[in-house]
């Protein structure tokens, strides 16, 4: 089936004032083609030529490759003020050439690639950050308005959306939270045991794990998991809705996307996060117990009673309060990035990435602040 290719060749016959260009053989994308530079050189040094004519008697098969070379040749001749007799080319090529010339490039269409100096890059980063802060303030403001509307019973959203969101970010997250918290409890117990067993005070591992989990690690780990899981999902959902014009459609129907889409998601997370935090605390204590009871000659009863004595209601409520705050931050970063999303597939990816990054940054900053405040207040 395959036909043997004849080698492509180009010959120049000087016949002043005509320059005859003979094109031979098969000019195809996957074959070697002759260099055009020699022909171009002929055109540039000889002002004796007034017109270029073609001879294509022995031209075989050809495709876009010949076209690009011809276009280059014609453009070059035009630059040198030499006319080209296109009529001497085959009809198919003439047709394509006229098609190429049919819509000439308009001045100003082409993009200028400008050199960007590092100073400009830094400046742009600064402006970008400023815009982000602005957008965040706007978003928080809008969200506050919708929350007020919610408490006055005037927010328009579907309750089923709220339940679905609670289902998505609550019970569905339990397996991963179980695994991570159990392991964190286990790690805390091991780390503590190294020091405490020096004094024979293995029993105090229970205090360490209990306090560590309930005040800090339970909430923090839950928040990190949820920002990877839920903030990303929110950003992707809302971003895709933005791409598909769904958010525009909601607005056109008279819904406030803030109330209809963002509010149920934020409320769901605020409701679910404290519960998940409590669950994570419990799992952490169980993880600690596994280690202590099995490796350090402490009975389960001793461990549990020690834990109950160590954890006060304040510790638990500090952890839960922190986790509720994290919930707000996670929902905020996810929804904000989703709503800001552009209109293309790659921008959905960008929105998701930046939702997770923003979420984790917010969480860590907020956690540090709250820990310092608790410390100063002596809570």
């Amino acid at each position: 089936m395959t036909i043997e290719n004849r080698p492509a060749n180009i010959i120049v016959n000087c016949n002043a004032p005509f320059l005859e260009i003979v094109i031979e053989g098969d000019w195809l994308l996957d074959v070697e083609i002759p260099n055009l530079e020699l022909v171009l050189a002929k055109l540039s040094d000889g002002s004796e030529f007034k017109q270029v004519v073609f001879s294509t008697v022995s031209l075989g098969r050809w495709d876009s490759l010949l076209m690009t070379e011809l276009i280059r040749l014609i453009a070059y001749s035009a630059e040198k003020g030499i006319s080209v007799d296109i009529k001497t080319l085959p009809a198919g090529i003439q047709g394509l050439l006229s098609l190429v010339a049919a819509v000439p490039e308009r001045a100003g269409d082409r993009r200028q690639t400008l050199h960007v100096s590092w100073l400009e890059i830094i400046g742009n980063c600064g402006l970008h950050l400023l815009n982000d802060v602005n957008a965040l303030i706007m978003f928080v403001g809008n969200l506050t308005l919708s929350v007020t509307a919610f408490f006055r019973g005037k927010a328009h959203f579907r309750w089923i959306d709220l339940w679905r969101n609670i289902q998505d970010c609550g019970p569905s997250a339990l397996p991963i939270i179980t695994l991570i918290s159990l392991l964190v409890g286990l790690i805390l117990a091991f780390v503590g045991s190294v020091q405490l067993s020096l004094f024979g005070a293995q029993l105090y591992i229970a205090d360490l794990v209990g306090l560590g989990m309930s005040r800090e690690m339970g909430g923090l780990m839950t928040a990190v998991i949820m920002s990877g899981r839920t903030a990303a999902a929110y950003a992707a959902q809302l971003g895709t809705m933005q791409v598909n014009n769904e958010i525009d459609a909601l607005e056109a129907m008279g819904f406030d996307p803030m109330e209809f889409l963002v509010l149920p998601r934020v409320l769901a997370l605020i409701f679910v996060m404290p519960l998940l935090c409590l669950y994570a605390d419990l799992m952490g204590v169980i993880g600690g117990a596994l280690v202590t009871v099995n490796f350090f000659e402490v009975s389960l009863f001793e461990y549990l009673s020690r834990t109950v004595n160590a954890i006060h209601v304040t510790d638990l409520s500090v952890g839960i309060f922190k986790c509720a705050v994290f919930g707000i931050l996670i929902a905020l970063s996810g929804c904000m990035r989703g709503m800001q999303c552009g209109r293309s597939a790659s921008e959905v990816g960008d929105a998701t990435t930046s939702a997770v990054v923003t979420g984790i940054v917010f969480i860590v900053i907020a956690d540090s602040l709250m820990t310092i405040i608790c410390n100063r207040l002596g809570i």
Binding site: M1, L29, D30, D63, S64, L65, M67, T68, I71, R72, G92, I93, G95, L96, L99, V100, A102, V103, P104, E105, R106, D109, R110, R111, T113, G342, R343, S344, A345, S346, E347
Partner: protein, 262 residues
């Protein structure tokens, strides 16, 4: 000129066990502008997916020349499909790449051309579809019609022998749709390519179609084939006539009955 290029033999298409169309038999000749038409949801686009090797038919086969598409092994199928170019409904340009990168993508993958040659080829293809100078734009910065033409430039990147179009004029204003039709026809004339178009746009069916098949949703098979104008003139099937006359045949028969009664 009329040598068969692509043929479909006894093909049945299905999603799972839900049959879309059965017993399809037709041949597309070299140089044809072949129209696949039918109402919305009758399986036109699904048929296209089968022709370009994205869906395996439940029964039957697609032949490029004499070579079977679905009996062939993976490598042969790839090489058969290298001769095809596809323009998807909304252009399907990769949004994270500029137009030049989009068009260059198949060239860098399938040929061993130098970067300079590829750049010239890309400019040529873009000029061919009337987008000279738009190399460094991102798809999102262009209008729908321009995105579609850029998609066409990408479909033509490897000089395919056969070009598939999925609803080329959907979402375009009549003038842009007409320009796209003209472009398709002149590409066929000058490149000598074979064109397959999935559409329900009557204006373009009659303007550029040289042969057509009509898929029917209720009987789940093709109920007419032939040049579109001939179908309009000679077909007796009420469904085909209703489609080709935008339902006017139905109205006229009703008015004819009313006239008789009056």
């Amino acid at each position: 000129m009329s040598s068969p290029y692509l043929s479909v033999k006894d093909m049945t298409m299905a999603y799972g066990d839900f049959i879309i169309q059965r017993d399809l038999n037709f041949t597309i000749n070299r140089g044809d502008i072949f129209v696949i038409m039918g109402g919305s949801g009758c399986g036109k686009s699904t048929l296209l997916m089968h022709l370009i090797g994205l869906h395996r038919p439940l029964v039957g086969d697609v032949f490029y020349g004499k070579e079977s598409l679905w009996q062939a092994d993976y490598k042969t199928r790839k090489s058969l499909l290298r001769r095809t170019g596809v323009l998807f409904q909304s252009g399907a340009l990769l949004s994270s790449m500029t137009l030049a990168e989009n068009v260059a993508l198949p060239l860098t993958e399938h040929t061993r051309l130098t970067a300079q040659h590829i750049r010239r080829l890309v400019s040529y293809k873009l000029a061919l579809v009337g987008l000279a100078g738009f190399e460094d734009y991102y798809p999102a910065e262009l209008s729908g019609g321009m995105q579609k033409r850029a998609g066409l430039a990408r479909a033509m990147a490897l000089d395919p022998e056969i070009l598939f179009f999925d609803e080329p004029s959907a979402g375009l204003d009549p003038v842009s749709a007409k320009l796209l039709d003209d472009l398709i026809r002149s590409l066929r004339d000058h490149l000598g390519a074979t064109i397959v178009i999935v559409t329900h746009e009557l204006a373009s069916i009659f303007a550029i179609g040289t042969y057509s098949v009509f898929l029917d949703m209720e009987t789940k098979t093709m109920i007419a084939s032939g040049p579109p104008k001939q179908l309009l003139a000679e077909s007796n099937d009420p469904k085909v006539l209703r489609f080709l006359t935008r339902g006017a045949s139905e109205n006229s028969s009703i008015s004819a009955i009313k006239n008789q009664r009056a």
